[in-house]
Amino acid sequence: MATAAYPPPPPYYRLYKDYLHNPKSAPEPPPPIEGTYLCFGGNYTTDDVLPSLEEQGVPQLYPKGPNVDFKKALRSLNRDLQLHILELADVLIDRPSQYARRVEDISIIFKNLHHLLNSLRPHQARATLIHILELQIQRRKQAVEDIKRRREDAQKLLAEAVGTLDGQ
């Protein structure tokens, strides 16, 4: 059973010999990549955006426009889906050889559904950020109140101590 040894580490370590004494004598790390890059033979892009349905070659069944009413679109797509399933069952009874078109329609509806749900994710991310910021503000205000109260308590104790000492 032949096992290959791991490849040796890249020889750049020699450039960092004096890093402890002089951090500037060694080269800077490479800057972050922008745009598309090649990784193990595959093309990746740094711009994480959900490709629109047209780019994937799927017809868009819900009305286009800047602000899509997600709930209404998802509800109407759900109803369309149920009707198409019923149609498929009917087609299989009467004209069984024409199932392909119906199955394709059903799969287009499913792709639209999933695309709509995926495009809700950025909205969810922003809502999560808002929630986290609100929580943080609340915690900070609480901390400010706590510190103020403790300081006042300490001042009171000191005043009492002065009073006790003077009384002696």
Partner: protein, 135 residues
Amino acid sequence: MDIISQLQEQVDTIASLTFNMIGTLQRDAPPVRLSPDYPQPTANPPPEDFADQPKLMSAALVKAAKQFDALLTALPLAEGGEEAQMKRIAELKAENDVVGQELQRQLEAAEKELQQVRGLFSQATDNCLNLKKPD
């Protein structure tokens, strides 16, 4: 699990119910006589409770669709779109900075007072030690 993932899972459930239903019915349905010329085809005996399966499966499908609608109504989609959200985020960030500065000020003042008290305390203890007459 968050509601969007639940919705996505519900869509997948509906899909699997659909193809299970169509597949089961297609596999198990008894054959149909095409025309009076051909003899009645011989049928494989359909499995038990075959008459109930369409009812059960269609009930499950409709229940899954209703569940999807229920989840959809529960979706907390804040109206206003992206611009409103970004504006709110900017407001919250500004408020967070203000509160953060206030917190920083309070913290520094408290630290200063703590140092003062520590200094006084060590002075007091030193005085106590110095004044205590050795027996």
